[in-house]
Amino acid sequence: MQTPVELKNALPEHRPAPKIKLSRGILNVLLSIYGFVTLYPLVWLFLSAFKSNPEFYEFPFGLPKEWHLENFADAWNVARMGVSFKNSFIVTIAALILTLVFGAMAAFVLSRFKFRGKAAAMGLFLLGMLIPIHSTLVPLFIMMKKIHLLDTYGALIFPYTAFELSLAIFVTIAYMSSIPKEMEEAALIDGTGYWGFFFRVMLPLSAPALATVGILAFLRFWNDFAFALVFISKPALQTLPLSLSMFATGYMTDYRLTFAALSLAVIPTIVVYLLFQEQVMKGMVAGAVKG
C-alpha cells in the first residue's frame, strides 16, 4: 500500500542539499510548536472534564487534583446521552449518505456536461452557502409542519442534506473537472455508459474530495444546534447538541458536566475524521496505480 506513495513523494526530494535538510528541520520545529498549541485545547477539554466546578475556576490550567470520574456518568445520565447518541448517529449517517450520493451525482453532471441551464443550476446551489441558517428556522418550521415532517428524523435529515449539498457539489466539481477528458472518452468507447463511467471511474477517483466533503458534513450534522433545537420535540428523538447544552442556565454553566459531555461527544468526530482522512490520502495511491 505504501510503496507507490513513497516512490512518488521521494522524487521531488531526490536532491536533498544540506540547506534543504536544515530548512526542513526548522520547518518541523515550527510545525511541532503549532501542532502542540493546537492540540492543547483538546487536552484541556479532557482534563477539565475530570475537575470539580470550584477547581475548574481556581486552577483552570492545572491537572485535576482528584480525578472525578463520576462527572461522565452524571453527564451521561442527566443529559440522557444514550438516546441522543443513537439519534445523532442515525440522523448524521442518513444525511451523510444522501449528501454524498446526491452531491456526487449532481457534481458529475455539472462538471462533465455542457447544457442549457447549467449556470442557473450552479447559481442556485451557490445560494445555499450564503444564507445564515437562523433566518430559515421559521419558514422551515411552518413548511415541515404542513407536510407533517416535524418531529421525525426526516425533519433533520432533509434540511441537513439540502444545506450541505452546495458545499458538496462545489468541492466535488472542482475536483472532478481536473480529471482528464480522455478518460471519459475511453470509458464510453469501452461501452460502460455514463453511469458505469460515473460509478467505476469517477467515484473512486473522487474519493479524496468526497472524503473531504464527508468530514465537513459529518461535523456539521453532528454539531448542529439550531435545527435540532427547533424541528425536534419528542425527547426520544433528541440529538446530541441539545444534550450538551443542558447544563448552562444563562446565569451559570455547570462546566464539570458540560465538559464531561463534550468530551464524550467529541470522540466519534475524531474517529470519523481519522478514518476519512485516510481516504483523502488513499486517493493518492489510486492515482499512482492508475497512472
Binding site: N53, P54, F141, F225, S245, T253, L257
Partner: protein
C-alpha cells in the same frame, strides 16, 4: 383496512370533539371557572386529556432536579392526563419559543418571562389569563408578596404566577477585605467612592464586574442606581414615554454617576469581556472587595465557592445618592419566569392545565424553590439549615426593603437592548448625553 377504518373513526371523533369544545367555549368564555368543569369530572375521567408542557429545567442543580421531580409526581397523580413534556436547554429555549410563536404553534403550558415577552405574546393573542385558577385557590394567590403579578398583568388580567423572584442589584462585600482596610460597609455614594479609592490604592480591585453579557450593568447597577437618582415614578413614565424621556437631566445624571464610578477606577480592567461567572469567582476568591450582582449569584456561589469563602461575604443595598428622589432603602428586583397558558387550551384540557400549573407553582413548590437557594416572591419560611449564610442574609435583606423595577423588566426589548449596549459604551468613556438619546430613540420607536 382495519387501521384505516380506525383512523377515520378517530378523525370523525376528534373533529366532533373539537367542534363541541369550541362551541362550549364561546358560552363559557367569561366564566371558565374550575367549578363548572368539576361538575362533569365523571365524564372527564373516561378519556385521556393530552397536554404539552415546555420547560427549561434541564440542568443538574437542585432547583432543576426538584422541578423535574414535581413534574413526574404530577404525572403519577394524574393518570388521566397525558403530558407531552419537553425539557429544552435554557440557551435555546427562547429561540425555540419564538419560532413556534411566529408559526402560531404554541405548546399548551410553557415557561415564559414577565414584561416584554408577556406583552408581545398577549398582543399576538397567544396566551390566556389565569385569573380563574388564582381565584379558585385564594390561599395560594394571597400567599404571594405584594406586586408579584405586576409584570404578568395586562389590562387587569393576570397571565401567569411567578416561580421566583430575582433581586438584581445586591451589593455583595467581602468582610475580611473591608476590615483589612478599616472600612465600613458603604452607605452613601461618598463612602463608596472613598472605599473605592482606599482599596484601589491598596492594590486590589474595589468592585468586580463582568459585563460581557451587557445586561449585567443594566440589570444590576443602573436599575437601582438610576432609581436612587430619578425615583421609580419617573422611570415608569419614561418607559411608557408618557411625560418623561430618557434624555431628561435626571437620567443623564444617573448615567454620569455610573461613569464617575468607572472613572474612579472601581472596576477591574477588561470587565466588558468577562462574564458574570468569572466576576463571581473573582469576588469569591478575594480578588475584589465588592461586587454588584443579582440573586442568581447565590446559587452560582453555592456551586463554585468554598464554605470559607462564603462565610466572608455580606450583602446590602446600593448606597444612597445625595439629593436623589428614590427610596435609598430599596432593591431592584424582577419576577422570575413562570408558566404561561396557550390561548388555544379550552374545555376539559383547561382544567387539566390549571391543575398542572398549580402543581408546578403552588405553595409547596415555592417553599422547595426557596430551600434550593432560589428566592421566591412568596411568603415562605426559610429553612436556614438548608442554605448558606449569605443566602439567608440576602433573604432577610429582600424581605426588609422595598422592591423597585428592573429596567429590562419594564422597557421594550429593543429599548433594553439599547440600554445594555449604551452602558457598555458609557463604561468605555462614551458621552452620557448621546447614550441617553440612543436609549430614548430605541424605546420611543419600539413603542409605536
Amino acid at each position: 383496512m382495519k387501521k384505516l377504518l380506525l383512523l377515520t373513526l378517530m378523525f370523525v371523533f376528534t373533529v366532533s370533539l373539537i367542534g363541541c369544545s369550541s362551541g362550549n367555549n364561546k358560552t363559557a368564555n367569561s366564566e371558565k371557572t374550575p367549578a363548572a368543569s368539576n361538575g362533569n369530572s365523571a365524564k372527564k375521567n373516561e378519556e385521556k386529556v393530552k397536554l404539552s408542557l415546555w420547560h427549561n429545567f434541564t440542568g443538574n442543580d437542585l432547583r432543576a432536579t426538584m422541578m423535574r421531580d414535581q413534574i413526574d409526581k404530577f404525572q403519577k397523580d394524574h393518570p388521566n392526563i397525558e403530558l407531552d413534556i419537553q425539557a429544552i436547554p435554557p440557551d435555546g429555549y427562547k429561540t425555540r419559543l419564538k419560532t413556534v410563536a411566529a408559526a402560531n404553534e404554541m405548546p399548551d403550558v410553557f415557561m415564559m418571562w414577565p414584561g416584554a415577552m408577556t406583552k408581545e405574546f398577549h398582543d399576538g393573542g397567544l396566551i390566556q389569563p389565569i385569573n380563574a385558577l388564582l381565584d379558585s385557590k385564594p390561599e395560594w394567590r394571597d400567599g404571594y408578596l405584594p406586586g408579584s403579578f405586576d409584570s404578568f398583568t395586562i389590562d387587569g388580567n393576570i397571565y401567569s404566577a411567578t416561580l421566583g423572584l430575582t433581586p438584581t442589584s445586591i451589593l455583595f462585600y467581602n468582610k475580611a477585605i473591608l476590615n483589612q482596610y478599616n472600612l465600613e460597609v458603604p452607605k452613601t455614594w461618598d463612602e463608596l467612592l472613598n472605599a473605592v479609592k482606599v482599596i484601589k490604592e491598596g492594590g486590589l480591585t474595589p468592585i468586580a464586574l463582568g459585563n460581557k453579557a451587557a445586561w449585567l450593568a443594566q440589570s444590576s447597577i443602573i436599575s437601582s442606581l438610576a432609581d436612587r437618582v430619578t425615583g421609580t415614578e419617573w422611570f415608569l413614565k419614561a418607559a411608557a414615554q408618557d411625560g418623561a424621556k430618557f434624555t431628561d437631566p435626571e437620567f443623564v445624571e444617573a448615567l454620569t454617576y455610573l461613569q464617575d464610578l468607572w472613572k474612579a477606577g472601581a472596576f477591574q480592567e477588561g470587565f466588558n469581556s468577562i462574564d458574570n461567572t468569572q466576576m463571581e469567582v473573582m469576588f469569591a476568591q478575594g480578588q475584589a472587595a465588592m461586587m454588584i450582582n443579582g440573586g442568581w449569584a447565590l446559587s452560582n456561589l453555592a456551586a463554585n465557592a468554598t464554605p470559607e469563602q462564603l462565610k466572608d461575604m455580606g450583602a446590602t443595598v446600593l448606597p444612597s445618592i445625595p439629593g436623589g428622589k428614590g427610596n435609598p432603602n430599596s432593591l431592584s428586583g424582577a419576577l422570575g419566569s413562570a408558566f404561561g397558558l396557550s390561548s388555544k387550551v379550552e374545555g376539559n384540557r383547561l382544567q387539566a392545565a390549571y391543575d398542572l400549573i398549580y402543581a408546578l407553582s403552588g405553595p409547596e413548590v415555592q417553599k422547595m424553590t426557596l430551600d434550593s437557594s432560589n428566592l421566591v416572591s412568596y411568603k415562605a419560611e426559610l429553612d436556614e439549615s438548608k442554605v448558606s449564610s449569605i443566602f439567608s442574609e440576602v433573604y432577610k435583606l429582600v424581605n426588609s426593603v422595598e422592591r423597585t423595577p428592573v429596567y429590562d423588566g419594564v422597557m421594550t426589548s429593543a429599548g433594553s437592548d439599547a440600554v445594555n449596549n449604551g452602558l457598555q459604551e458609557l463604561l468605555m468613556g462614551g458621552d452620557p448625553q448621546k447614550i441617553a438619546q440612543k436609549i430614548q430613540d430605541a424605546q420611543a420607536t419600539s413603542l409605536q
